[in-house]
């Protein structure tokens, strides 16, 4: 009694089975486990917000065995954590070649120790360009998922109908929907974490507020200066108005983040500001943003 619905159903189950070969359960918090995916040989990616232990992390592999994993590093800003598993021959998930379009079918695939692989289905409900998360990280795309992420699904992989990874599914980056951390962003963060153990973000140590200037230009007024911070050391005062940073005009705090991202840590950044209506130039040596505890 074959029908097209049954054929689609079979296809979906096959996609889950195949992609599930790269999906593990991650035990790094009390009560609920979370999910993760083999991104490279021996390298598992999961959602940073589900990691509550730094040691004695274990993962349940697709064959049902439990093995220890070590935390290679994590980035709260993009909600990516990287785990290393020695000797585990997990086949990495294959990546989708293109960014999905709104309306494409999507499956979120996770795993739990007791019941094995699990899946939910829905569609990609929105896709946009570069997006800054409320945690301060930057995703290459904002990919909103119209599917239910149950407890334990976060850190699993969001795949298209071909079973290729769109990204890592997380419920922590948006209040209204699950989000896929794009595969390209995961690649970038994994590279940086494997190289340096963390994702360093430039830091000025100032509190800023956008203001409009009398000549209709915009700037950012300094409301607070962290004592001993990079800006303080460079001589920035409360009441200064930032006009440009690293030769880029800044009108919003987002602009500052973008410049700091491209500049990195420990670099001298040319800063233009207005003090008492007079233009002034300073060089601030960027510090490193302290990591979320």
């Amino acid at each position: 009694m074959a029908n097209e619905l049954a054929a689609l159903s079979n296809e979906l189950a096959t996609v889950v089975e195949r992609a599930g070969q790269a999906v593990v359960a991650v035990h790094a918090r009390p009560r609920f486990s979370s999910s993760g995916a083999f991104w490279r040989p021996g390298i598992i990616v999961t959602a940073e917000h589900t990691i509550r232990l730094e040691e004695e992390i274990t993962v349940t592999l697709p064959d049902g065995s439990n093995v220890p994993a070590t935390l290679a590093g994590s980035d709260a800003g993009t909600d990516v954590a990287v785990l290393r598993v020695d000797g585990a021959a997990g086949s990495p998930i294959s990546r989708a070649g293109a960014v999905p379009s709104p309306g494409n079918l999507a499956l979120a695939i996770g795993r739990s120790q007791d019941s094995g692989v699990n899946a939910t289905m829905g569609i990609v409900s929105a896709v946009s360009g570069s997006w800054r998360t409320w945690r301060g990280g930057r995703l290459d795309h904002y990919i909103r998922l119209d599917l239910t992420l149950y407890p334990g699904s976060s850190g699993g992989v969001a795949v298209n109908i071909e079973g290729e990874a769109i990204g890592i599914a997380t419920s922590a980056l948006s209040r209204i929907a699950g989000v896929a951390i794009p595969a390209s962003t995961v690649d970038r963060v994994v590279d940086e974490i494997l190289k340096r153990g963390r994702v360093a973000r430039g830091y000025l140590g100032v509190g800023l507020q956008p203001v409009e200037l009398p000549d209709h230009q915009k700037g950012l007024i300094v409301l607070s200066v962290e004592s001993g911070g990079p800006a303080d050391k460079a001589g920035v005062l409360i009441g200064d108005i930032l006009i440009s940073l690293g030769r880029h005009v800044v009108v919003d705090t987002d602009d500052i983040q973008t410049v700091l991202e491209s500049q990195g840590v420990g670099r001298s950044v040319e800063t233009e500001l207005l003090r008492g209506g007079v233009a002034k130039k300073l060089a601030i040596t960027t510090g490193e943003r302290s990591r979320r505890s």
């Binding site: 097209e4 979906l12 499956l107 007791d114 699990n118 939910t120």
Partner: protein, 264 residues
Amino acid sequence: MRGFGEISERLRRSTARVFAWERGGGGSGVVWSADGLILTNAHVARTPAARVELWDGRCFDARVVARDPRRDLTVLRISADGLEAAMPGDSASLRPGELVMAIGNPLGFIGALSTGVVHSIGPLPGMGHERWILADVRLAPGNSGGPLANAQGQVVGINTAIVNGLGVAAPVSTAMDFLRRGARPALGATLRPLRFGLLILEVDPGGAAVAASLRAGDILLTSLGELSDALDSGLDVMRLRFLRGNRERVREVCVQLRAHAEAA
């Protein structure tokens, strides 16, 4: 293409409404045989008699044939024949990701369809070894006892509960085992898991727990998994350690079990 609409219409004719006499509300049921066997949840039909309304509006008094509170299943009998019985599927070969649909009477909507995929198949955390189908399907009170079907319209599960938003269904293989062999031995008590044991909230009159003089408030020093293993061990006597009042003193009791007891 045979879509959800066509397949669900066939299934809808095999789905009944089930009302318990005393309590309001009600749930759903699956027409299991053309000659009047209706499968539903034990928590839907709590009383020895119930009322069943078929898809065409005909109403029947129903008698409870067997009841298994541990698997939350009840089979009812109505005096009717020529009914459109549901087609059972193979729950053992069900895979995560497969399309499934649920039909029932949630929140008073009659014959409502919800669709989704199988989330996973396995035990519920802290609830023993029994395997359940977890489905990414929106269920609501009133879906209980209704069918969960695969893309061919074959019944693979009996919708039983909602846990963390997921639909939980008893696999149809469990239901068939129940129909064939009757209820498994039960303790006859409502239990709440504690960190170190199981608190008895309520005992069923006439159940094994009452007969062994266990009562509400006692704390059994076991887990749900161990308890279900003991109940299914095939022995007709089960030894239980428990606390009553004074937490220092561990008491012991022998519970007489009736193997595959019939409720009716």
